[in-house]
């Protein structure tokens, strides 16, 4: 009983350890500090998205628009810097503001129309992607200045800048979800919305705020991604929303709402990164990698469901 409890509590971490051990045994070059940092850099964009997604899913919702927002924010930021001639700092702030605003609109639509969030965000996903293409005319925007590129490619000591941004966001979000009362409200809304409302929670306001935060974080991730690939590309982030949901679910976030932790969802993102990295080192192609990721998702969920049933 006790053993089972521990197993369940740390199941995501155990899965990560298993995957790491597997690749360490199977390859020579996987287990190295440099590769570890490399993996963290690779998952930084995904992890930032996962934070927003975890908030939304815990409250019982779903945000499919984050992948498109990644593309839009990269394009908008690049356009502001290169063509509008606005200073990089101001451009970044403006981009984040626009991203947040779009998220607020998404949130208001969900709350006012009373349509499931998965449907509204599916619509927004298409709208936002379309906007990204319109703004960029369908072509990537180059000539990003070096100080902005630094956000995606720079280092502080040995640590890449995106990793620092990711760690700050993950730890701050984890702290707020665990320790602030708003965090507690999120779990309540996802677990039992009516009880939360009767408990005095302004459910609608919080829901709007959540989609705003999710879009804002997608904006942050989008700017980092743009800096990393040195261009604002309208197609970037296509399909990322699914990777984000996958990471959250591998990290034990319940798709039914009410359950999940930021830190574990983050580990879920790292597991996906480790899989990509390790399989690539093993010379296993992208097509096979997709199959493996899908299987890991199903296994993680199956383990979670089965261990919950027994208890």
């Amino acid at each position: 009983m006790r053993k089972k409890e521990i197993l369940r509590k740390f199941s995501t971490l155990i899965l990560l350890v298993l995957v790491v051990v597997f690749f360490s045994v199977m390859t020579d070059s996987f287990l190295a500090v440099k590769n570890g940092i490399n993996i963290l850099r690779q998952v930084s964009v995904l992890s930032i998205l996962v934070v927003g997604m975890t908030f939304v899913i815990i409250s019982g919702g779903m945000d499919l628009s984050v992948g498109s927002m990644l593309g839009l924010s990269g394009v908008v930021c690049a356009k502001l810097i290169t063509e509008a001639g606005i200073s990089p700092v101001l451009s970044i702030l403006l981009t984040l503001l626009i991203a947040a605003l779009v998220g607020t609109i998404t949130g208001i639509l969900i709350v006012k129309l009373k349509v499931p969030s998965i449907v509204i965000t599916l619509g927004m996903m298409t709208v936002i992607r379309g906007l990204a293409y319109i703004i960029s005319n369908g072509y990537p925007i180059y000539d990003i200045p070096d100080e902005v590129i630094y956000l995606g490619q720079g280092y502080v000591g040995v640590v890449p800048v995106p990793v620092i941004v990711m760690i700050v966001i993950v730890f701050f979000a984890n702290f707020m979800l665990n320790r602030s009362y708003v965090g507690r409200y999120l779990y309540a809304i996802g677990g039992n919305e009516e009880a939360a409302r009767l408990g005095g929670v302004a459910v609608k306001k919080i829901e709007v705020a959540l989609y705003t935060i999710s879009a804002f974080l997608a904006g942050v991730a989008g700017i980092i991604l743009m800096a990393r690939i040195s261009s604002g590309a309208p197609a970037s982030g296509t399909g990322m929303e699914m990777d984000t949901v996958t990471a959250a679910v591998i990290g034990g976030v319940s798709i039914n709402g009410g359950k999940g932790k930021i830190i574990e969802a983050f580990i879920g993102a790292v597991i996906i990164g480790v899989l990509s990295n390790g399989l690539t080192i093993m010379n296993i192609g992208e097509y096979y990698q997709q199959v493996v990721k899908g299987i890991v998702l199903i296994l993680a969920v199956a383990f979670d469901t089965l261990s919950n049933k027994k208890a």
């Binding site: 707020m176 602030s180 507690r184 779990y187 009880a195 009767l198 408990g199 005095g200 929670v201 009410g258």
Partner: protein, 498 residues
């Protein structure tokens, strides 16, 4: 003539509750047999046993003189027992004909013979003397017509016993008349009808016999011409007050809450009453009378269409639960699982939930205060748990209810509304909740209590407001309280009494 359905010494026990004890009943063909009793008297359990939805612990069921120790849903259907539940089993998108023949064979080879199905269905509906095109989807019909489709559905089975559970509850007066004509027609065809209703007028209008259940026990069966309203009411409530209610000296203080002319769009009409500090005000009424709706509207859970609310003689505008809470009102909802407890969350997180913003610095919860609050209420309410971090879903019903109470008490309210606070919990926990309520009023708080258990309501309340179909039909002081009087008011007999 032999009885078509005969129950002999049927009993059913749920953990902690004797739902039915040794009930025997005879139902004859071509009669409308009314079944009456207060909420929780065992009517639902009885019909579930007849239809096979649940198994009796002991007793025998004779159907056309063949004995069965238990039914099951397929067998009961095959024998010709049909049930019209309060909630319909219709597929809204399908047509009337398709619904009537849902799951039944009207085949021509492997294909559905649509024409035959439509003409057969139309014939059944026409016999009702109503005008519905059976090719229309069910979702386009009114509730009353949907109910008739339900009835038609059971009739395709060559039904011999038709059970109707409060069929008129959702109907208007004219729709009710149409239903009664159909019931009369079915009766002439020799079908036995078991008719459950709270409405006295109906019982006297359509039934030939009436059987009364009380506390899971069979009380009596009367021919309708040999009984009266008063007779039936006393049969229904005739138990003695065997529960012990702690009596306390109360000092009723100043006015805590005044409601004037409260209306809602759906149900409530002109609800007015006052509540004082140190007082327990009871709300009596049948299911659907509007008691829960009243307290929900006052708390801010449902919108108000008209009326004024005064807290401590100050008019307040309450449009959401948050403002209700801010004005010192706490609601302990009737539906514990869906509205009260946060089952997936810990006891600690539940207890501090409403007041959590008050024990936070900025938005960060003060963990020590959070813990202390939980420990304090686990102690005062004697919540049995090894750990404050235990998930609420792992607790027993009584302890869950205490957690819900603690959540509201911790919010430091002065007006506390208990909606069916003792439903589904055992006797010991009930006593604890009574004691707690008395403790709260002795501290000067004002309590509203809704309960469908008369002895409990009369034992605890200082005054009782009685409701019927969204209106207040009377207010009863401690001296005037009697079950007969309250039940009369609850049945809507305002004028006859005073």
């Amino acid at each position: 003539m032999n009885a078509v359905l005969r129950l002999v010494n049927v009993s059913k026990t749920y953990p902690g509750v004797k739902a039915l004890a040794d009930v025997s009943l005879k139902i004859y063909p071509g009669e409308v047999h009314a079944l009456m009793g207060e909420n929780g008297a065992g009517k639902s359990t009885l019909i579930k046993i007849i239809s096979g939805a649940i198994e009796p612990d002991c007793g025998e069921i004779f159907f056309e003189e063949v004995v069965y120790s238990k039914m099951n849903p397929i067998l009961s259907q095959k024998l010709g027992i049909g049930v019209i539940y309060q909630e319909f089993n219709l597929v809204p998108e399908l047509s009337v004909a398709e619904n009537i023949y849902l799951g039944k064979k009207v085949n021509k080879g492997a294909l559905l013979n649509r024409n035959e199905m439509v003409s057969k269905a139309q014939k059944i509906i026409d016999e009702f003397g109503i005008d519905i095109d059976v090719r229309r989807p069910v979702k386009e019909l009114t509730i009353a017509y949907q109910q008739l489709v339900e009835i038609a559905k059971t009739l395709t089975n060559d039904v011999k016993v038709l059970i109707m559970d409060e069929p008129t509850a959702p109907l208007t007066n004219r729709e009710t008349e149409a239903l009664f004509r159909i019931v009369a027609r079915l009766k002439e065809q020799g079908i036995a009808i078991i008719y459950i209703s709270h409405r006295m007028e109906e019982i006297f209008e359509i039934s030939q016999k009436v059987s009364v259940l009380r506390d899971g026990k069979y009380v009596d069966t009367k021919k309708i011409e040999q009984t009266s309203r008063e007779d039936l009411i006393s049969l229904m409530v005739g138990r003695t007050l065997n529960e012990q209610f702690p009596t306390v000296e109360k000092t009723v203080g100043s006015e805590a809450l005044r409601v004037e002319g409260l209306c809602t769009k759906e149900l409530l009409r002109n609800i007015s009453f006052t509540l004082h500090e140190g007082e327990i005000l009871g709300f009596a009424g049948l299911v659907g009378a509007g008691r829960t709706e009243t307290v929900r509207a006052i708390f801010g859970a449902d919108p108000i269409s008209a009326g004024r609310i005064f807290v401590d003689n100050r008019e307040v505008k309450i449009d959401k639960p948050k403002t209700g809470i801010r004005n010192g009102i706490a609601l302990i909802p009737e539906d514990r699982k869906h509205q009260g407890a946060l089952l997936e969350m810990s006891i600690k997180d539940n207890i501090s939930f409403i007041s959590v913003a008050d024990i936070s610095r900025g938005t960060i919860i003060d963990r020590k205060k959070d813990r202390n609050l939980a420990v304090k209420y686990i102690d005062t309410l004697k919540i049995k748990t090894p750990d404050i971090n235990q998930k609420v879903k792992n607790l027993s019903g009584g302890n869950q209810q205490k957690v819900v109470l603690a959540k509201s008490l911790a919010s430091k309210s002065n007006i506390i509304i208990f909606d069916e606070p003792t439903r589904g919990i055992d006797v010991g926990a009930k006593q604890e909740i009574y004691a707690l309520m008395n403790e709260l009023v002795s501290q000067g708080m004002a309590i509203i209590m809704i309960s469908s258990e008369m002895p409990e309501l009369m034992g605890m309340s200082d005054r009782i407001v009685v409701m019927h179909e969204g209106k207040i039909t009377g207010e009863v002081s401690k001296e005037e309280m009697s079950q007969e009087y309250i039940l009369k008011l609850a049945s809507g007999y305002k004028e006859e009494i005073k």
